[in-house]
């Protein structure tokens, strides 16, 4: 559980809170992870590696078993504009979409969202918390939002 010791743990690689293997993430683009029993989802978006809470707020499906995809937008009736490819986490059950940058749902971004967490890579793994050089490691206990 990252806490007041989070920064130290992040700097000492052997103590990092590992989420998943980097090569596994690169191959699958979206993977499940668990930290202290808490379900997480790690994605490799074109913008970088992103870590989000892994339970869909709708009915509790595991977002890590969903897909990383794009979002269909439109400028006019009858138009399909597939954009933000690889940045959207889509729930494996009912298809709720979440922005991997913010954790916010695309259908109700103000009210429906999942927590996001900083991460870094070390030793071939994706680990929880900002890199040691940053201001400190936020962690599972300190979500940006819920």
């Amino acid at each position: 559980m990252p806490d007041e010791h989070g920064a130290e743990r992040a700097s000492a690689h052997s103590d990092c809170v590992r989420l998943c293997r980097l090569d596994d993430l690169e191959r699958r683009r979206i993977v499940r992870a668990e930290v202290n029993g808490r379900e997480m989802v790690v994605v490799a978006s074109p913008r970088g590696i992103r870590v989000l809470r892994g339970l869909c707020p709708h009915q509790g499906a595991l977002l890590g078993l969903g897909v990383l995809c794009g979002h269909s937008a439109a400028g006019d009736i009858g138009e399909y504009r597939y954009e933000r490819v690889g940045e959207i986490v889509r729930c494996p059950w009912h298809g709720w979409e979440f922005d991997s940058e913010t954790g916010r749902s695309l259908h109700d971004p103000e009210r429906i969202r999942v927590a996001t967490y900083p991460s870094h890579t070390c030793g071939g793994h994706v680990c929880l918390g900002a890199p040691a050089a940053a201001t400190g490691a936020a962690g599972v206990g300190q979500p940006e939002d819920q």
């Binding site: 709708h58 009915q59 509790g60 499906a61 078993l65 969903g66 494996p92 059950w93 009912h94 298809g95």
Partner: protein, 390 residues
């Protein structure tokens, strides 16, 4: 780790059991005449429509490790669904494409396919696990053969229902007299009639009176419309009056619309009953006694407490029966779909008690409980451990 429920019994009233290799699994159950027809014609099964949800028809997380869809084999259904969610009884409605035998224009072939599907269901799924009950299909456009089929396989101890598509065949609406022998046969075999939503009329009938929906979203948001129209016909044309022992389940049609339909029918009955003098009771009373509705896909009003009001408006908390629709994409979670605002008693009724009463499942539940309490051989170890966590 299986979930635990505060309900005494959990019945899933809409589970789809399918095939390992698609319709080819069913082919051995066809007569040589039709096997030949399927082989040469490359027939891939009834009802392959062109509507599909964005991510496919199945839950993304329901696939087996080797890429087959959920419910393609018994072991996967057992591990991934029945054990995981502590389901006591699962009522299979078969592979959803099977319902479209009712829309096949060549009725002799439709009858053969229906029989083969039923034999495949019995051989592959029923008898494997006391928790699984089945629904048989018939090609209802041929009433006489449907009756014979119901008597041929309907007496199987694990068959509890005849399942038909909500949208009636080209031969006429479900309320019509021509189908009376089917209802009679189902009653004689002790079976309920389930009307399950279908994606379309096998490309022969538009699923809505307005024609063809353009998107899957348009189609599925309107599932209640054919259900309401057919239910009106069943009530007002006197089917329930003539067959008081008939039990009908509307499956995957939504339910929040029911109070409005009952009020409207009752109002018109007071005004226009001379048009339907054969009805001896308020139309809503037939529904309260003889019709039940499954919950999935769950209605999700902005304020979940509104669902309690809907049930109050129905005039009975006995009408709704829980369903997951496993392994389809819009699966409802047994622990999350029913909001706490419904109250513990109502949730218990919906999760299992209503279905036990309506489908008359006391003996099946008794058998499941007895097996759970028995020290299990290796093959049933999971179910034995499940009883420990209750």
């Amino acid at each position: 780790m299986p979930v635990t429920h505060d309900a005494a019994v959990v019945v899933d009233c809409d589970v789809h059991t399918g095939f390992q290799h698609g319709f080819t699994d069913v082919v051995p159950y066809l007569d040589p005449q039709w096997r030949h027809y399927v082989d040469l014609g490359k027939f891939s099964g009834p009802g392959r429509g062109s509507y599909t949800p964005w991510q496919g028809a199945h839950r993304m997380d329901s696939y087996t490790d080797d890429g087959r869809v959920g419910s393609s084999d018994y072991e996967h259904l057992r591990d991934h669904h029945l054990d995981t969610w502590s389901i006591d009884i699962a009522i299979s409605t078969g592979d959803v494409t099977a319902l479209s035998v009712c829309y096949m224009p060549q009725r002799e072939f439709a009858n053969a396919v229906a029989s083969a599907l039923n034999d495949h269901l019995i051989d592959t799924w029923l008898g494997r696990d006391s928790r699984i009950l089945g629904s048989i299909v018939v090609a209802a456009q041929d009433v006489a053969t449907s009756v014979a089929e119901i008597h041929r396989v309907g007496g199987h101890p694990r068959v509890c229902q005849v399942v038909l598509p909500t949208r009636s065949p080209l031969t006429g609406q479900w309320g019509d007299e021509r189908y009376h022998p089917i209802w009679e046969a189902a009653i004689e075999e002790g079976l309920a009639i389930g009307f399950h939503t279908t994606a379309a009329g096998g490309n022969t009938l538009p699923p809505l009176p307005t024609g063809w929906p353009r998107t899957y979203m348009e189609l599925t948001s309107a599932y209640a419309i054919p259900a309401q129209a057919e239910l009106l016909g069943l009530v007002l044309r006197g089917v329930f009056e003539k067959f008081p022992a008939l039990r009908v389940v509307m499956i995957e049609t939504g339910f929040a619309w029911l109070p409005s339909l009952m009020w409207r029918m009752d109002k018109r009955w007071r005004e226009l009953q001379s048009e339907v003098p054969w009805l001896t009771r308020l139309p809503s009373e037939y529904i309260l006694d003889q019709v039940r509705l499954t919950t999935q896909p769950m209605e999700e009003p902005p304020k979940p407490g509104a669902l309690a009001q809907v049930i109050e408006m129905m005039g009975s908390e006995n009408l709704l029966m829980f369903a997951t629709d496993y392994p389809h994409w819009d699966f409802d979670s047994p622990t999350r779909a029913l909001p706490s605002e419904l109250g513990a008693d109502t949730r218990r009724r919906i999760l299992g008690e209503n279905a036990v009463e309506f489908y008359r499942l006391d003996k099946q539940v008794e058998q499941v409980r007895a097996e759970q309490a028995t020290p299990a051989p290796a093959a049933t170890a999971d179910r034995s451990s499940r009883s420990d966590v209750r």
